[in-house]
Subunit: 337 residues, 2 copies
């Protein structure tokens, strides 16, 4: 059902009143701060006590254990630990979660998280999430409610994702969290972020490695101008953080790197042979020119989701943006390019 | 001979009073405009008449032929045609150049220019130059005196480059042209710009090609954030211009692309094998951290160049910047990191 020119879904929603957060790092801490500021009741657990005490001073209700957090029966429980701790956290949550709590996460790789959540038996109440926000810092001390201003979140659907669970998480993200949502699947998400984030980080580092490995390092750096500065900017990310990105998403990153290697080697062959190379750059320009994805200010449509078709409906619109959602009515507001 | 705390070389130099310019494109036109504004007498020839007439209205003395330009006996004659026209221009200049005219150029690739200049018989009065400035536009209409404000110029030396010719071009660049100079050789220049300009352009295009060639183009573009924007910015250069860059410098670009391909494929292998990949990013970070090249505001030293040692002396300082030069005294002022 399509309805235009109606109030946005979620604009007056009051569905998500209590949120639980596991791990108060950069993202978990920023979510907690923002929700407290928005008047949402936030409960949190953190493995180390000082950050939990700091959060308590900031208005968060501290839980001594994950079990205690689950007993509070939050409407949404956000898992925001480091990826390597996700399996343990998911098992602990599965042992204690109760009532209508919907579980989501903030991991930057979605296939691996979906797997450990399913193994833990949480799939029926889970909706995967990845807020595309971050800084070079980490930890609760670096967290900041404004980090999430207008942030784009990827929400990931699987065949058994529940409509009400999706709507609740989308309502939380587009409501009190102040974000917008792209809907996708774990596998598509992981390939997409390999393409637009992880491989660009690798390539920026490779540009520096090429200079460092040459015989003319000093003069090259002396002549470097805008194209090199732009191309290597994200190589300023801490090496351990970039390493974690690409190893966590290795299954999606490696094939993209192989394609890049093959295409660069083919271009080198063409240059050596004096063969035409114009198509290489024309094809790139066409991708750039063809880019047309919805932003938050594009035309809005409100869509009431139906149980039998909602996943296909949303997944058929990869360039749309969900800017509002209402669990009570199963309505989402989308912008379209 | 080193002398500190003396007036900068070239600060009161009046050596270059008349300059000739072949081709009033973006760079030739910008040089002409700037020199006219600085009170230098500028003569120019251009293959098409409208740009020459526009330049004449801007204060340039128009020449009907390259021969006529040579007869004016400019102190410096700048060759700024497209690279593909350089051989013809060099032959025509060689047939008519006279007196003490020193010849320089503005080509973005120096090995090929040095070759055609030598074949034309101009090597004894030639000093290669590459102003590291430009915009996406071309032609006299797009030229602008301010394009060259503080521009870095690479000046290239060969075994038979004359000291007086080098000093005269350096005096012109650091004086009325308002630029600074890195001194190098044609081969080192071409490898360095492959590393910091041409290959970064290729890689930016490759990042777009990877997205365009994937099954998830739309979602990838929808999730693209800062790292992708930065990494693909120079892919906005016109495809024909990037194509010309890499084909003109193919001999230096192709080996760098092969190294990139090999290192990206090796990283993919390591990811597939679950092997450690941290060193890949640590090595890149070390290149970034080790970058230390002189800027115009670093400590100054004035050096009087000696006939027998000046090339080795200047080439041993790839991270220094020449900020002043005086042909009469063979003195250059350098900054050192």
């Amino acid at each position: 059902m399509l309805a235009r020119d109606v109030p946005s879904a979620g604009s007056s929603a009051v569905g998500v009143r209590r949120v639980g957060v596991v791990s108060l790092g950069l993202i978990g801490g920023s979510v907690a701060r923002r929700l407290v500021a928005q008047g949402v009741e936030v409960h949190a657990w953190n493995p180390s006590l000082p950050a939990l005490e700091a959060a308590a001073a900031d208005g968060v209700v501290p839980a001594r254990t994950i079990a205690e957090l689950c007993v509070a029966e939050p409407d949404v429980l956000l898992l925001a630990p480091p990826l390597r701790a996700m399996a343990d956290v998911a098992r602990e949550v599965a042992a204690h979660v109760r009532g209508g709590t919907v579980v989501t996460d903030a991991g930057s790789v979605k296939g691996a998280v979906a797997r450990v959540v399913r193994e833990a038996g949480l799939a029926s109440r889970f909706v995967g999430a990845h807020p595309m926000a971050g800084t070079e810092q980490a930890g609760y001390a670096a967290s900041d409610a404004s980090l999430l201003d207008g942030a784009r979140w990827a929400l990931t659907l699987e065949d058994d994702t529940r409509l009400d669970a999706f709507c609740r998480v989308a309502e939380l993200v587009t409501g009190p969290l102040g974000g917008v949502v792209r809907v996708t699947t774990p596998a598509v998400h992981d390939e997409a972020v390999a393409l637009v984030s992880h491989v660009p980080h690798v390539v920026a580092s490779e540009l520096l490695r090429l200079v460092g490995g040459s015989d003319v390092t000093d003069l090259a750096l002396a002549l470097a101008a805008g194209s090199f500065r732009d191309g290597t900017r994200v190589a300023g990310t801490h090496p351990r953080r970039t390493e974690a990105m690409v190893t966590d998403n290795a299954a999606a990153v490696a094939p993209v790197l192989r394609r890049a290697a093959a295409e660069l080697a083919a271009l080198a062959d063409a240059l050596d042979a004096g063969a035409p190379v114009g198509a290489f750059f024309d094809e790139a320009a066409a991708v750039r020119a063809g880019a047309r994805v919805a932003g938050p200010d594009d035309a809005r449509t409100t869509l009431t989701l139906e149980e039998s078709t909602w996943r296909a409906e949303l997944l058929s619109r990869p360039t749309s943006l969900v800017v509002g959602a209402d669990e009570r009515t199963s309505a989402v507001t989308l912008t379209t390019p």
